[in-house]
């Protein structure tokens, strides 16, 4: 069973209890305007090109069967429209200026990487699935989590909550802690900035809350979008209504994801006017009763 992995981060300390190994999977049903990890959004292959690392050695040109790497006057142009994403150029590139956004990896391999840090996990630590949206892999994500549990690790999952209701029960049986994104509590704004409204997400959250799981709410704060009193109060109510809520984390927006966006050949992103000030975050924290 192979899954597309953009990165495996060991010694992660803020993605669930204890020391954890976080597996970032590629693919997400949402399109948040502020996405922090744009390389994990789309399903399927993507090439990342970091122009700053290119030394102009032209190994990519030699490797490419489609003539997608052009060199004129020493400038390197990567023509995405000609590229068939065979990744031959990334394999040839000595500097890692060209890299595939994800690697197909066997579930066993992910588990064995995570198990390497067993000595550091204690009773609490283990594996966290992130992304992207892990449930975009469907049943495969559940299988991976079950394998982790069978190997003696605790499991956590970062999720946007937008998945088929049929996954609720299997996930409840394989995930110890959910790190549940609350993009917005206003359905219209949710649809506008994320691409779908939040009805399905809330239904899944309520359904999962019936099981013995731990739920951490994670709220992205975007100034001028959801950084307001009404949202803060709604978060407060949402959290209070959960039987298995552990805490609420606030994640102030930052524009750092846009550099990865550029490397994927995408426009936009990186809005500095969206960055909340420290005071605004603290105000929100108070309003939300945290």
């Amino acid at each position: 069973m192979k899954l597309p992995v953009t990165r495996i981060q060991r010694f992660s300390t803020h993605d669930g209890a204890g020391v954890r190994t976080v597996v970032f999977l590629k693919g997400c049903p949402l399109r948040c305007a502020w996405c922090h990890n744009p390389e994990t959004q789309r399903m399927g292959r993507e090439m990342m090109y970091a122009a700053g690392k290119c030394i102009g050695c032209r190994a990519c040109e030699a490797a490419c069967p489609r003539g997608a790497h052009l060199f004129s006057n020493g400038a390197h142009v990567y023509d995405r429209s000609a590229c068939a994403l065979c990744m031959a150029c990334a394999d040839a590139c000595p500097t890692q200026a060209l890299t595939p956004a994800a690697q197909e990896m066997e579930a066993e391999e992910m588990i064995s990487i995570a198990l390497r840090d067993r000595a550091f996990y204690g009773r609490e630590g283990g594996i966290t699935l992130s992304g992207g949206e892990p449930t975009a892999q469907g049943e495969a994500a559940v299988k991976l989590l079950a394998m982790a549990k069978a190997a003696g690790m605790t499991t956590a999952m970062e999720t946007c909550g937008h998945f088929a209701p049929a996954l609720v029960a299997p996930l409840a049986g394989t995930v110890d802690e959910f790190l549940w994104d609350v993009k917005d509590t206003d359905p219209a704004r949710h649809k506008r900035y994320v691409g779908v409204d939040n009805a399905q997400i809330l239904r899944n959250l309520r359904a999962l809350d019936q099981y013995e799981v731990r739920i951490v709410l994670r709220c992205i704060l975007v100034r001028g979008v959801n950084l307001n009193t009404a949202h803060a109060r709604a978060v407060r109510e949402l959290f209070a209504s959960l039987r298995h809520g552990v805490r609420v984390d606030l994640l102030p927006y930052h524009p750092f994801g846009s550099q990865k966006g550029e490397q994927l050949g995408r426009e936009g992103g990186g809005r500095t006017d969206w960055i909340p000030t420290r005071e605004e975050v603290e105000d929100f924290r108070r309003e939300a009763g945290l």
């Binding site: 204890g18 020391v19 890692q96 000595a119 609490e124 630590g125 992130s130 930052h254």
Partner: protein, 705 residues
């Protein structure tokens, strides 16, 4: 008065305002500045000085220092005594002839301060006198012991001057000083005064000793005092704080706080088992952690002995102090070190006494003469094996190449050991005469009994430890050759050698490949780690043939700062580094090669059989502040320490990186290539960001959100 921290919360305040003010002055160089002005005692006026034998010259120097060194009494200080002569800070006995220091002093040694507390200096003098009764002693041996007694008498002179200076103004301090350090200490305050006064005298005479197991030495006194209500924990904390603050008396004005430059090897060790195997950690241990947490004093680098049974309370406090950065605390894996010492032939009870030498190399305190020999393994590979400084060598296989390196390194080790043997022993195997150092010999068991000085085989153990430096770079270079030449055939062996001689000129794509596309030591990749592991393990066996002689040659792993010094004399490496690049320190990964984080680094390190590195192997781990925030941060540090112990590490220093460190990373991206930052669920390697984004991350780190 804010004591610097790189953590996002302020340091706790528990101490008196007056104590904090005292610390502020001391850390900002007030006393160091005074010492620099005082310089040294001139011996030029001493008639016939030049004609005296060295031992008599030494005794006279110590006598004059005791008589003439300026005294310092700071109003409000709980304990007195001060090393006020600046020449001591340059590793000399602060006595000069014609403006030049007469004698070097001693460092890398931890003295038997515990004897001073329990026997008192008078008790020690009595022991020396009974040794003098030995009818078999030669005149030379008698002279040595007479010199030890002379050191005690000089100390008595200095002591008398302090008593007089205190006068009637501070009757309690005077009463305590009347008793110690010459008589055994009776309570906690006396014990602390006795320890400090002796330490200060040894330093006044130019030496830089480590303190050793301070919580073990002082714990029983505090416990008894607490029981009979003679002191409170708060009072005891103030007193210990004064000890630490006074220990900063050699910090000079222009040395930034916490830079480490002002350190004079005054290491101390906390916790761990005693001779009977019982845990030592006591209230003194916790109070000391309180003090360094509050004041950020890094002048007594502390190493905590940790084992799988270490109480959670202690580890929690250790982690909480570590979060403030500055590298004040490090950890030893106690069980592994005890195994290691036992394998090397120390009886278990003796091994359990281990402390460090004023740095982090392990020794039995108060019984060991110690030096280490820094050896550059990368030079052995690049120059002695590959001959990159002349006509390059050729090898047809990795087996052939490794065998040649191994032989070259063995020659380096044996040359160093043989040189030491020639230098230290005469043709009959007796220790040669060295510069006198009676102030140190006095507190080393064996010297008085054998009538021989610290440098001349007096102490029970004489240890000369060859230390390998650059092992990760040798491992990485061998692995790069294996991949580039033999496995992937990207370049011929001879061609690669010429490329290295050209410092990679004209081969940038190959260099980039070596840099970016090969995984090196420190990423928990078994294939990549295997060469470094082999280099370390094979090195550990290279001194076997010297077993059983009067000098022990256990191995260790270190560079300290030498990787910087060595850089200009090394060639370019097959792993893509240019000539002059600063490479790996101690047993840590080469800067910029470890991309998998702290746990992977620790695992790579622990793959080597570290218990064979008897005097120690050090790993430095850098963590970004974001990894250690909050309660999870404490748990994460504890997890790293527990994992390190479980996996068989030796010594580990954890450092927390702050906004300032990020700025350094911006200026020097090669060194910080793999520094990972994590903000709100987003992660990236810091140096891969544009300047503009880097600035924002720095601002954010500084802003604590």
């Amino acid at each position: 008065m804010e004591f610097y921290t790189c953590f996002d919360r302020k340091r706790p305040v528990r101490l008196d305002d007056a104590t904090r003010a005292f610390a502020w002055e001391s850390l900002h160089g007030k006393y160091g500045q005074e010492a620099v002005r005082n310089g040294a005692i001139a011996m030029d006026g001493e008639e016939g000085f030049a004609a005296l034998p060295p031992l008599a010259q030494y005794d006279l120097c110590i006598r004059r220092i005791a008589e003439r060194a300026p005294l310092r009494l700071v109003p409000g200080e709980h304990i007195c005594g001060a090393a006020t002569l600046g020449a001591a800070m340059t590793h000399h006995v602060p006595a000069t002839l014609g403006g030049e220091p007469v004698f070097y002093s001693v460092s890398h040694v931890t003295l038997g301060f515990d004897h001073v507390l329990t026997l008192g200096m008078d008790g020690i003098a009595q022991e020396v006198r009974s040794c003098l009764n030995n009818p078999d002693f030669t005149p030379e041996q008698r002279a040595l012991d007479e010199s030890l007694l002379s050191a005690i008498e000089s100390m008595r002179i200095w002591h008398g001057r302090y008593l007089e200076a205190i006068g009637e103004t501070q009757p309690e301090m005077r009463a305590r000083l009347k008793r110690v350090p010459f008589a055994p200490a009776q309570d906690f305050r006396q014990a602390l005064q006795s320890l400090w006064f002796t330490f200060a005298f040894v330093r006044l005479c130019g030496n830089w000793p480590g303190i050793g197991r301070i919580d073990q030495m002082l714990g029983k006194y505090l416990e008894a005092d607490l029981k009979r209500g003679a002191i409170t924990l708060e009072e005891a904390r103030e007193w210990l704080a004064h000890f630490f603050i006074k220990g900063c008396e050699w910090i000079e004005k222009d040395t930034p706080v916490g830079s480490g430059d002002a350190q004079h090897y005054q290491n101390l060790v906390l916790a761990g088992v005693d001779e009977e195997g019982k845990e030592v950690a006591n209230e003194v241990t916790y109070l000391i952690l309180d003090v360094v947490e509050e004041l950020g004093i890094s002048d007594f680098p502390i190493t905590v002995r940790v084992n799988p049974r270490t109480p959670e309370r202690l580890l929690t406090r250790v982690a909480q102090v570590m979060r403030h950065g500055g590298g004040v605390l490090a950890v030893y894996n106690e069980d592994l070190i005890l195994d290691s010492l036992a394998q090397h032939g120390y009886p278990l009870k003796e091994a359990r006494r281990f402390a460090n030498d004023g740095c982090w190399e392990v020794q039995i305190p108060g019984r060991t003469n110690f030096i280490y020999l820094p050896l550059d393994a990368l030079r052995a590979l690049l120059i002695d094996t590959l001959h990159l400084d002349g006509e390059p060598a050729h090898f047809d296989s990795m087996a052939q190449l490794y065998a040649a390196y191994d032989a070259a390194m063995r020659r380096v080790v044996e040359d160093a050991c043989d040189r030491t043997l020639r230098d230290r022993l005469d043709g009959d195997g007796n220790f040669r005469k060295k510069q006198p150092c009676s102030v140190v010999s006095l507190l080393e068991e064996g010297c008085a009994q054998r009538g021989r000085s610290y440098h001349e085989g007096g102490p029970i153990y004489t240890v000369v430890s060859p230390h390998i430096g650059g092992a990760p770079d040798v491992g990485n270079s061998l692995y790069a050759i294996d991949r580039l030449v033999f496995q992937e055939k990207r370049v011929g062996f001879d061609e690669l050698m010429r490329v290295l001689q050209r410092n990679w000129e004209g081969a940038e794509a190959l260099r980039q490949y070596a840099l970016n596309r090969i995984t090196y030591y420190g990423n928990d990749c078994d294939e990549a780690d295997a060469y470094t592991v082999r280099v370390l393990n094979d090195f550990a066996g290279m001194t076997k043939k010297y077993d059983g002689g009067p000098i022990r040659f256990p191995t260790g792993v270190s560079t300290f700062g030498r990787q910087i010094e060595w850089a200009p004399f090394r060639a370019a490496t097959p792993s893509g580094r240019r000539k002059g690049d600063v490479l790996s320190g101690n047993a840590s990964p080469t800067p910029g090669t470890d991309a998998q984080g702290a746990t992977a680094v620790i695992r790579s390190f622990c793959k080597a059989d570290l218990k064979r590195q008897v005097t120690g192997a050090a790993l430095d781990v850098k963590l970004h502040l974001s990894a250690v925030r909050g309660e999870e941060g404490v748990a994460a540090l504890i997890a790293l320490i527990r994992g390190f112990v479980a996996l068989g590490g030796y010594f580990m220093q954890l450092d927390v990186m702050d906004a300032e460190a990020l700025r350094a990373a911006q200026r020097d991206p090669e060194t910080y290539k793999t520094l990972s930052v994590r903000v709100s669920g987003w992660n990236a390697r810091f140096v891969t960001l544009d300047k503009q984004w880097q600035d924002m991350v720095i601002a954010r780190t500084a802003q604590e959100i």
